[in-house]
Symmetry: C2
C-alpha cells in the first residue's frame, strides 16, 4: 500500500539538514519511506493524506525504561533513593506477575504513542508480555530481560537462561519491529563473573548489551569499595564495552571515563527527568558531546519520572545543562532534537532503519500541529518543538508505515479497556 | 447567578489541606466562592455542572512576565544573554507599538487561559493595551509599566509619569480584576535617585513595587562596581523593601541576602524555565523556603522560555532543585503546587482574594481531567499534577466566577483572529 503525505513541513533530521522542508511530501510504500520531496508530487498512491499546518518528523525514540512501572506512578515520591527503592518499589515489584506487566506496559504504550514515541526500550521481567503488547500495538521496541545476579547460583542461572531464551524467541519479532538486548541490571546488582557470562551470551547471540551505570554517587563509591574500580573501568575490564553497548544514566563520570566511553563507542541514554526527580544529579552531557558521544534520551520508568513523555526529556536536555553551566549554548535545540531521534536510533543500533526521514528507512514518523497559540509566530519550528510544544500537539503517529494514531485517535489499542485493566492489575497487588 | 460544580475532586490548597476532597462540590455565587463541601449538596443553583473525573484547584498564578513578547517566541535562541538582549530583543522591541502589544498580549492570554493560568503579571510598555486585553478576556492580572531610567532626564520623567498615570487609571480596573504596581525595571537600568522617586510614587499611590533583581552574575558584579553593593543591599538602602515588593528571579543571592529578603517580607518570583534557558543559573529556592520565604512562579516572557505554561514551571521548580542538590526532598510536589497558587497570590498581595478555594474568595479555579492514560493509576493527584499532567489536561477555567474556557473551548476570545493578527503584527515590524 502506498500512502502519500502532502503539503507538510518535513524535518528529516538527516545530518546537515536542520531546517524543515516547506510544502513537502513523503511517500510511504508498505513499511518504508519510498521518497521525500517538495512541491507538487506527481505520484499515484492508494491514499493521499493532506498535512497542512503539520510538521512531520521522525518519531521519538525512548532508549531507557521499565514500562510496566506505570502501575507505580505516583505510588511513592520525594523520598531518598534508598527508601524509595528498597521500601517502596522492590516490595511492590516482587508482587508483579504477567498480568501487571501486561497491563502496566499497555498503559505505557498508550501514553507513549499519544506522546509521539514510535520506539521504546524496555528492561524488565515477564518480557513475553511486553513483546505481546508491542506485537499488538504496532509500536517498535528494543526489549531485554533485566537480570539481577544477587540471588543463589540457581536463581541467577535461571534468570540468565530466561534472558537468553527471550532473545532467541523474539529477535526480529513482530515483523522486525522487536529488537533485543542482553541486560545485566547494573554493576552493583551483578557479580563480575555473572556479567562476563552475559557478555559471552551477547556475543554468541549477536545482540547488544544494555546496563544501568553510574546513576548515583553512592553506587560509584560502592563499586570502588567492592571492586577497587569505578564502574567504567570495571565494565571495561569485564569486556562489556567490547560488545555493542548502551548504558543508562551515566550521571557520575570523570573526563577519563567519558574518554573511554567515546573511544569504545559506548552509547548513552540520558534520563534527565528521572535523574532530577530522584536527586541523582546532572549527567555531563556537554562534555560527552564534546568527546564525540551522541547521547540519546530515555524516560526511565514512570515511578521515577513520572511520565513517559520523551518530548519533555528533549526539553529538559536542552534546558538543564544551560542553567547548570550558566551557558545558553550548552545544548542547542537542534542537538536536543537529534538526541530524541537519530541519536536514539544509534543508541539502539537501529540507525540504518529509523531515526531520520529518508528513502529506504522504516516509516516511523509523527506529525505536530503547529497552529496552536503557543506555537505562534512560527519563526523557528525547531525551537518551538523543543521549547514550546507539548505532547498533545502530536496528531499522527506511524510506525513501519502503519498509522497507530490519527488526529489523536488511537487505532490499535483500546484505551478505555487498558485504563480499566491497569487499575485492576494494580489493585490485585496493592498493599 | 449561582453555579454549582458537583461530583469533583477538590484541592483547596488551603494551609494544612494537602489532599483533595473526594466527591466534593463548590458553589459559585456571582464572582465569589460561596461554599465548598462534600457529599450531596442540597442547594438551589441556576446551573449545576457535573465534574466527574475532574480535579478542581485554584488557577495558576504567573508572577512575572512580559506578555507581548510572544511575538518574539523563537525569534532568537541559544545565544549568550548579551547578544540575545542587545542584538535581538531590544532592537525588535523598539519597533513595537500599541498594535504589537495588543496582539502579542492577546496571543499570550489565549495560551495562558488554555494552560489554566487565571492571573498573570505583566511588566511592559503600552500598558493600556494590556489592560484592554485583560478587560476583554476576563482574566485577572497585576500590571505595571516597566520603566528604564537610562535615557535623558526628560525621557525618564515622561516614563515615570506614564507609570503613575497607568496606576491611577487602572487600579481596581476591569471590575477589580486588574491590580497595579510601580516597576523600576532593574537596579542596572535605573539610577538610584530614579528608583527613590518610584518608591515615593509607590507609597503615595499605595501600590507595591515589582523589579528584576539578581538574575545574572554579571548584573550582580556590575552593581558592585557601580554602587559598591550587591543588589539586595542597594535596593534595601533605596527603600524599595520598605514597600510591599515583588522581585523577579533572585538567582544570585547570598545567605545574608536571603535573610534580608525574609526579614523584609520581600516576595520572590522564581522563573526556572527562563533562568535555565538563558543560562542565568539556578535560584536558591530550598534556602529561601528554609528562611521562610514563600517563592512564587513566573514564566518570564515567551522569548526566553519559550512558552507561558505555568504548570511546566511548577514541574521545573519541583525537579531541578532535587537534581542540582542531589536531594529528592529539596522541593516536594506539594510545595511546588503552592508556589504556583497560594504563594503566587501572596506575591501579588492578593491572598485575601485568590490562591485557595474557600468561601469568600474570588472564584478563580480550573479543572483537570484526570482520566488520561498518563495519570493512571490515580495514586496521588498532587503528585500527578506536578510530575505527570500537562497543560492540555486543563478542561475548564473560571475567573471571578465567569467561565473563560469550558471543555477546552475558549469563551471570551477569538483564537483564530488573534493568531492571525499576532502574526500580522509581527510582520509589520519584522526586520
Amino acid at each position: 500500500m502506498k500512502r502519500l503525505l502532502t503539503q507538510a513541513r518535513i524535518l528529516t533530521m538527516k545530518e546537515g539538514e536542520s531546517r524543515p522542508l516547506e510544502n513537502a511530501w513523503l511517500l510511504i510504500d508498505g513499511e518504508t519511506i519510498a521518497q521525500v520531496g517538495t512541491g507538487n508530487p506527481k505520484i499515484d498512491a492508494d491514499e493521499v493524506i493532506p498535512m497542512q499546518g503539520r510538521l512531520l518528523l521522525p518519531g521519538w525514540i525512548n532508549t531507557h525504561g521499565h514500562a510496566a512501572m506505570t502501575l507505580l506512578r505516583g505510588f511513592a515520591d520525594d523520598l531518598p533513593l534508598k527508601v524509595w527503592l528498597e521500601e517502596k518499589m522492590w516490595p511492590m515489584e516482587e508482587r508483579f506477575g504477567p498480568r501487571q506487566v501486561r497491563w502496566g506496559t499497555s498503559l505505557a504504550v498508550v501514553e507513549m504513542i499519544r506522546g509521539g514515541t514510535t520506539c521504546f526500550t524496555d528492561m524488565y521481567d515477564h518480557m513475553d508480555e511486553v513483546a505481546g503488547v508491542v506485537e499488538q500495538s504496532g509500536i517498535r521496541a528494543s526489549l531485554c530481560r533485566g537480570v539481577i545476579g544477587l540471588g543463589s547460583r540457581e536463581e541467577r542461572e535461571a534468570k540468565r537462561q530466561e534472558a537468553v531464551r527471550f532473545v532467541r524467541d523474539w529477535k526480529g519479532g513482530a515483523g522486525g519491529r522487536i529488537s533485543v538486548m542482553m541486560a545485566p541490571h547494573a554493576p552493583y546488582t551483578c557479580p563480575p563473573d555473572y556479567i562476563e557470562e552475559l557478555v559471552a551470551d551477547s556475543a554468541e547471540l549477536g545482540v547488544p548489551i544494555h546496563i544501568h551505570m553510574s546513576e548515583t554517587e553512592a553506587e560509584v563509591e560502592q563499586n570502588q569499595r567492592d571492586y577497587h574500580a569505578r564502574p567504567v573501568a570495571h565494565l571495561l575490564k569485564l569486556g562489556v564495552f567490547d560488545r555493542p553497548c548502551l548504558v543508562a544514566h551515566g550521571v557520575h563520570l570523570t573526563p577519563e571515563e567519558i574518554g573511554i566511553l567515546a573511544e569504545k563507542d559506548v552509547k548513552v541514554s540520558h534520563n534527565p527527568g528521572s535523574n532530577l526527580k530522584l536527586g541523582s544529579g546532572i549527567a555531563p552531557i556537554p562534555e560527552m558531546l564534546k568527546a564525540g558521544i551522541r547521547p540519546s534520551l530515555g524516560t526511565d520508568g514512570a515511578a521515577s519520572n513520572n511520565n513517559l513523555d520523551l518530548m519533555e526529556e528533549v526539553r529538559l536536555a536542552a534546558l538543564i545543562h544551560k542553567g547548570v553551566r550558566r551557558d545558553p549554548e550548552a545544548v542547542p535545540a537542534e542537538t536536543a532534537l537529534r538526541m530524541g531521534t537519530l541519536y536514539g536510533a544509534e543508541a539502539l543500533f537501529l540507525e540504518d532503519q529509523i531515526g531520520t526521514l529518508e528513502a529506504g528507512k522504516q516509516a516511523d514518523l509523527i506529525s505536530i500541529d503547529v497552529n496552536g497559540a503557543h506555537l505562534q509566530p512560527l519563526h523557528d519550528p525547531v525551537s518551538h518543538l523543543v521549547y514550546a510544544a507539548s505532547r498533545d500537539d502530536v496528531q499522527d503517529v506511524y510506525v513501519a508505515g502503519r498509522p497507530l494514531m490519527r488526529n489523536r485517535e488511537l487505532l490499535t489499542l483500546d484505551e478505555e479497556k487498558i485504563r480499566f485493566e491497569a487499575n485492576r492489575a494494580f489493585t490485585e497487588v496493592a498493599p
